[in-house]
Symmetry: none
Subunit: 118 residues, 4 copies
């Protein structure tokens, strides 16, 4: 039971972007939206996007080519490790919630079936 307050907008946007990268919306080495573009898309201040990218860069998923833009890492192995981490992390979180609710595995699967059925 540890509660962090890392659910700020910038971390949510970062998480979202990572999902898109991991889903192949942006390929390895591909240019990401510019700070200003992304700021407009998600309707936040550019500074907030600067921070989003700074975190992804610190994590190693993004690199900057100055005056040209931000790019997805080209390191495929690293990328795949991070992708796995990301997916499993989110799954684990969901399972923890289900467990707290004392849902059995089959109940969980049933709910997912319903959602996918739609």
């Amino acid at each position: 039971m540890d509660f962090k307050r890392d659910k700020s907008i910038y971390s949510q946007i970062g998480d979202y972007l990572k999902g898109e990268m991991f889903g192949g919306k942006y390929d390895l080495g591909q240019k990401l939206p510019s700070v200003r573009e992304l700021a407009e898309i998600v309707a936040v201040n550019p500074n907030t996007i600067v921070r989003v990218y700074a975190e992804l860069e610190a994590e190693g998923l993004v690199y900057t080519e100055s005056t040209s833009g931000k790019f997805v890492t080209k390191d495929e192995e690293f990328f795949n490790i991070k992708r796995k981490e990301y997916i499993v992390g989110h799954a684990r979180e969901f399972c923890a919630t289900a467990e707290r609710c004392r849902l059995t595995k089959s109940e969980v699967l049933k709910i997912l079936e319903e959602l996918y059925g739609k």
Copy 2:
């Protein structure tokens, strides 16, 4: 793509507590931990817990008996609706993430199997 800025500690703790209630740790009409107790358990300031309970009470899941404490609602039907909402809400969030990553349904199920296998 809509991002909320509402993931403060107290809402996270509230979410956690709801999970426990929905999992049956606290039955309908049962007394919940006192503000002080809970504050100690999760190691936060009592003020934060006051706020947690205030939110749950506003939502109708908790009621106060003036001098004797906080209790889980006795309204079973309402409780079950909220429980369903809670679970589906979390499942939906997880599915949205999986979709962003372009995981197929079977990939998602496989990951959950792995997690449950452990």
Copy 3:
């Protein structure tokens, strides 16, 4: 010959603070000036100080106790390694400059003697 543009105010302030920490102005585990205090002392915007501390924290020299302040790391071994790095790094930079000017070692020492003589 690689030129970085990491000489922004916040990195300069960070370097300065590190010097003070390494010089013992702030002991291991001791509280550092608050963001607002330091902002006033060096006459910059608090956000800039936030960034200074963020970098020092990322480096591991500083940790935050939320709502109580920023503190010097208590890890003495780590601290001493960083201290050595800091000093040698600055010395190395100075020597590189001296070498570019083709100053001999004895000329360098003479200049330092003069400065210390004052």
Copy 4:
């Protein structure tokens, strides 16, 4: 404690070039590398080098002969004053850092000995 925001790439390159001039890599009155050449050497945009030379020229260390290029000043006395300033300035900066760390003179000298020993 005064912090300047003036450590851009061009000023760093300028400082580097001055070091080389003061070290005799370019003699009094000698032709300096052309903008293009230097831009290629340090891998920056020619515009940046234009600015570097503009600053050195404003300082009086470099002069332009309209069609044939940039040259080191021929004024030996001035050159030597600037050289002294340059060296002492860098030494002073290093000593300030050492002092902030509360290194004694002998500790400073020991570190330099070590570096020169290598």
